[in-house]
């Protein structure tokens, strides 16, 4: 029997992450270029940005802790890529030509890459964010220097925001179109997972996967 790996802590993480990323993008955009129709909110927007900065950071730390020591132990998701010539071709056919997947659960190359990239991007976003938060810190100035100075750190932080916007667009489309059941499960904890899962198999730890194959 396939049990759902979308446990309650993961759902809470996803909710908090969803809210804080949206808040961070809106307020961050405002800090970059204040909306002309609401110019007087800079202090408020910065405050919100900093509050969610901490919420987002702590949330991610807890999620990583859960990834290592939690029930599902899915830390491999953060770094492991399942890429081979076959899987890339299958995935391309699956996503662009809408073919069925020849081997169950192994057509999620792009999703796999996107998830690994986005988790590491969160990290870099936190690091660059804190460099900008403490611009006069002598402790952090070395890292700022190696990243190319404060201007570069700002540019990196800003550029990754755009990557995250793109991820959100594609992620939402894919989730809604391909796995609406999973969306319901992730957000409200209702509904069943379909047995033919693309994500679950990729996301399962190597040991569990081997067991499932047997």
């Amino acid at each position: 029997m396939v049990t759902s790996d979308i446990t309650v802590p993961r759902r809470i993480y996803h909710w908090v992450d969803f809210v804080s990323v949206v808040a961070l993008i809106i307020t961050g955009w405002y800090i970059y270029m204040p909306f002309s129709w609401a110019p007087g909110l800079m202090g408020t927007m910065r405050m919100i940005h900093f509050v969610f900065m901490y919420i987002f950071t702590i949330n991610l730390m807890l999620r990583i802790y859960y990834g290592f020591f939690g029930k599902t132990g899915d830390w491999e998701r953060f770094i492991k890529l399942d890429i081979s010539k076959d899987t890339i071709v299958w995935s391309l056919k699956h996503y662009l030509l809408f073919r069925d997947c020849p081997e169950k659960g192994r057509c999620g190359v792009f999703q796999n890459i996107a998830h690994v990239v986005i988790v590491n991007l969160f990290f870099l976003q936190i690091v660059t964010g804190f460099l900008l938060y403490y611009p006069e810190s002598r402790l952090l100035s070395g890292l700022t220097y190696y990243l190319g100075g404060l201007t570069m750190v700002r540019s990196i932080h800003f550029f990754f925001m755009w990557v995250m916007v793109c991820f959100i667009i594609v992620h939402h489309y894919m989730a809604m179109a391909e796995e609406f059941d999973k969306v319901k499960l992730m957000f409200f904890g209702v509904g069943k997972e379909k047995p033919k899962l693309t994500e679950l198999d990729v996301s399962m730890p190597a040991g569990a996967k081997a067991k499932a194959k047997k």
């Binding site: 007087g40 202090g43 550029f159 793109c166 489309y173």
Partner: protein, 350 residues
């Protein structure tokens, strides 16, 4: 003390002199007792330590800025007591005589070398002095120098404004890697910085504590944005959007391209020209002249931008890049969605 007689002649009394020395010590965060060393240094300076002042591709604005300090100041004491052997703008000698003065000083060794202006990298012929490329003059003079101080934006980092020209001017650190170079960027040089650095060097015999860019922490450790007199308007979201609106006169200049949030300088605390004023207080956005990004990455100066520096003279606007990426992602999703619908209806027909 000989120095007091000279100072009295210049209408500086003992008390003023002590105060000035203490001020120099305070700039570098040294204990008050150290001001005695500064006083000794100033007194020793009566023995006239030699200074060579080189000018490359510059506008002589840094020299001008230093010479125009209002008296009586530390600057005046130092300028009058240091023996400036070679300075193209102010020296009386010319031709072979002038070049010989420089060569003699190099033979003596142990002088202070001040470099103003950038060094061309595209072609040596962009800057020739006495039939010699300026690059060679710099390397030759730097060899025996006790300390090298690069002043102004042109002589530091990527060469300031000459760095953006076809001559591809670069700063001193681009050529001299084996010796510590004290960078004092800003356009022009802030006189108090050079004077304090020279005094510190004469007093302690070593370069002041510097950051990763070789700038003394005493002047370049605070972010302008954190100390800006217009910061309150920034927090309240009051920005200058129209130069002609007198109601916005005191507002934050961020949207007019102010580089304050990216610039490390003490401008807000120590004003220019003996405390007369500084850019932001005078109503002009900061152009970030004390940063390595000046001038290429920070131009256009009066526009807010977020750029990636992909080459020495090439930048990409990230706003355009981001919007394009978002557009491509959005279009891709729509096309994919339509394709999906089409393939589903195909499946149903089959």
């Amino acid at each position: 003390m000989d120095i007091l007689k000279e100072l009295v002649a210049k209408e500086i009394n003992r008390r003023d002199f002590t105060k000035l020395c203490a001020a120099v010590a305070a700039v570098f965060g040294m204990p008050k007792a150290f001001s005695k060393d500064i006083a000794f240094a100033a007194e020793n300076a009566m023995k006239k330590p030699a200074v060579i002042w080189l000018e490359g591709q510059d506008c002589a604005g840094c020299s001008e800025s230093l010479l125009a300090s209002i008296n009586p100041s530390v600057a005046e004491i130092v300028l009058d007591t240091l023996s400036i052997r070679y300075h193209e703008t102010i020296m009386a000698g010319s031709g072979y005589v002038a070049e010989k003065a420089r060569e003699d000083t190099i033979k003596e060794g142990g002088y202070v070398l001040v470099v103003e202006g950038s060094i061309p990298t595209a072609d040596d012929r962009f800057c020739m002095i006495a039939e010699k490329p300026f690059r060679e003059i710099l390397l030759e003079t730097a060899k025996n120098a006790a300390v090298i101080i690069a002043v102004g934006s042109c002589a530091t980092f990527s060469g300031g404004i000459p760095g953006a020209t076809p001559s591809k001017g670069r700063g001193v650190t681009h050529f001299i890697k084996d010796k510590p170079v004290i960078n004092l960027p800003s356009c022009p040089l802030k006189p108090s910085r050079l004077v304090a650095t020279v005094m510190y060097f004469l007093a302690s015999g070593k370069a002041p504590e510097m950051d990763k860019y070789g700038r003394p922490l005493a002047f370049y450790s605070t972010l302008l944005h954190e100390n800006c007199p217009r910061r309150g308007h920034f927090e309240r979201g009051e920005f200058v959007t129209d130069w002609n609106d007198s109601g916005q006169r005191e507002y934050c200049l961020l949207l007019k391209g102010c580089k304050g949030p990216k610039t490390y300088t003490d401008c807000a605390q120590v004003w220019w020209n003996d405390g007369a004023n500084f850019c932001i207080n005078a109503g002009a956005p900061c152009s970030g002249c004390s940063q390595p990004e000046f001038y290429n990455v920070f131009s256009p100066l009066y526009e807010k931008q977020q750029t990636f520096n992909i080459g020495p003279n090439t930048t990409v606007n990230l706003d355009t890049v981001g919007r394009t990426m978002m557009g491509v992602a959005g279009a891709g999703v729509i096309v994919h969605g339509l394709g999906r619908l089409a393939s589903k209806s195909n499946d149903e027909e089959e």
